[in-house]
Each structure stands twice: as structure tokens, then as C-alpha cells.
Symmetry: C2
Subunit: 116 residues, 2 copies
DNA sequence: CAAACCTTGACAAGGTCGTGGTAATGTTGG
DNA sequence: CCAACATTACCACGACCTTGTCAAGGTTTG
């Protein structure tokens, strides 16, 4: 049975045992399990836990932020949708299509009708 | 003074006025202001608000998720740090450096000493 | 001017996050 | 066998997210 148990891993990584279980629950770190269900932390997990802790502290992130980044990283569809929205912004007035303005004017006039 | 006022914008975008202010506060949408401080929504903002709403619904995201994505998008440093951490994972046992294993064994032995 | 609109600021309430406990139960190792 | 440790499943609490609503005060416009 190779791997540290949860309390040992807690000691060397600086996470609490409680948090190690929580981190696992977020999907950010997966552990092996012994035959009877004990979590076993190998050197990779320990390293990952240490660097994760650093990452969170350095940029003041939450686990949920990193979890979302993982989601972004895993889904091309999500990533391009979000990126697409973000890049929609830098449009300057000149770049706005004519029918956007048209729709806009319609809205402005509609409001007059609506208020009647 | 061109641009819809907040209630008009709310009508055509499906957001509540309260949420329009909140969205603005997250930094995801910026509005012009009239001389007296009224928010003015132009066609770009309206379009962005509609697509944002769609994006959130489609992937079940929160505004904070998109805000974080914006942060990722804006900071090369943050992006590469997070990405770096995420890509640290796919290391297979064979790829783990020897001194990681060494450190690992040291830890395992240290724990015996520590418990004495 | 008065009604209808805007602003910011605050309180509220239900949800999730991060974290610590405790309890009940199974496992390990001397 | 028994002490020390693991597991899951809860309760709890403070902080923040999302929303709504209300108050006190300026603005626009018929």
C-alpha cells in the first residue's frame, strides 16, 4: 500500500484533512483508495496540493475559480462561448452593424408606444 | 442624449433594473452616463446584455464565473499560472521525477520519527 | 409644479463556498 | 483486543453571490 494517509498528507501539504476531502470533492485532485477505502496520497498528489495552495494564495483565488478554469479547459464549447462573449466588447461604434442601430431605434420608439 | 434608460433597457433585455446595476458593478458591462448621472444603454450594451444572459443560462454560469474568465483573459500571468497548474496533472507515474519519489519516501519515514 | 423617472445606499433572504466540528462506523497494527 | 486512525454524513458559521425592496434625494417632462 503506497501512499500517505490523509493525516500524513495534511501534515506535509499544509491543508487540513477536512480540506483535503473538500478539495477532492471539487474534482481538482483525485486520490487512489486502498482496498478498504482509505485515501492514498502519492508524490504527485502531494506536489499538486502544494502548488495549488500556492496558486490560490498568490492570486487570491478560490477553489471554485480553479474548478471553473478546469471546466473551461475541458470544454472547447464553453471556452469559445465565453471567449466569444468577452471579445464581443471591443467593438467601437463604427463597427456596430447597421441593423443593430435599426433595432435600437425601433426599441426607442417602441417604448413610446408601450407607455401609451 | 442617445441611449435607453435603465428601465427601458431592462424591458428589452430581460434583466431587472436591479440586476443591470449589479452587472455593471461586476465590471462586465460599462455604461455611458448622462450629464446628470443617468445610465444610458446603447445598442452594443443591449446586445451584450442579451448574449450574456444566454451565456449564463446555456452553461449555468454565474456572473462571477464570467468575471473570473475576464480576469483570466486580461492577465497573462494569471492565465499561465492556472493553466500550468491544470496541466501539471496528466503526469503519469513514469514521468514523475526521481527526486519526487525520494522526497516522498523521506516523508513517509519522517512520519515515523514524528510519531515517536 | 407634479408625476414618473433616475441615483446611491441599506436591509433582507436564500444560495454556495470554505472551514471546522461531531457522530457513527469500519480498519490497522502492535 | 484496543488505541489510533479512516470513512461518510451531518450541523454550523461567517463570508460572499444574487435578487428584491425600500428610503432619501436629484432629474425630466408634460
Amino acid at each position: 500500500m503506497d501512499g500517505l494517509t490523509i493525516n500524513e498528507a495534511a501534515q506535509t501539504t499544509g491543508w487540513s484533512p477536512r480540506m483535503l476531502r473538500y478539495v477532492e470533492q471539487t474534482g481538482l485532485i483525485a486520490t487512489q483508495r486502498s482496498a478498504s477505502g482509505y485515501r492514498l496520497y502519492g508524490p504527485e498528489q502531494l506536489q499538486r496540493l502544494r502548488t495549488l495552495k500556492e496558486l490560490l494564495a498568490r492570486f487570491d483565488l478560490g477553489l471554485s475559480d480553479v474548478a471553473f478554469a478546469a471546466r473551461l479547459s475541458a470544454s472547447e464549447e464553453l471556452r469559445s462561448a465565453v471567449q466569444g462573449w468577452l471579445e464581443e466588447q471591443p467593438r467601437r461604434p463604427d463597427d456596430v452593424a447597421a441593423d443593430d442601430w435599426l433595432r435600437f431605434e425601433q426599441e426607442k420608439h417602441q417604448r413610446l408606444l408601450a407607455s401609451a
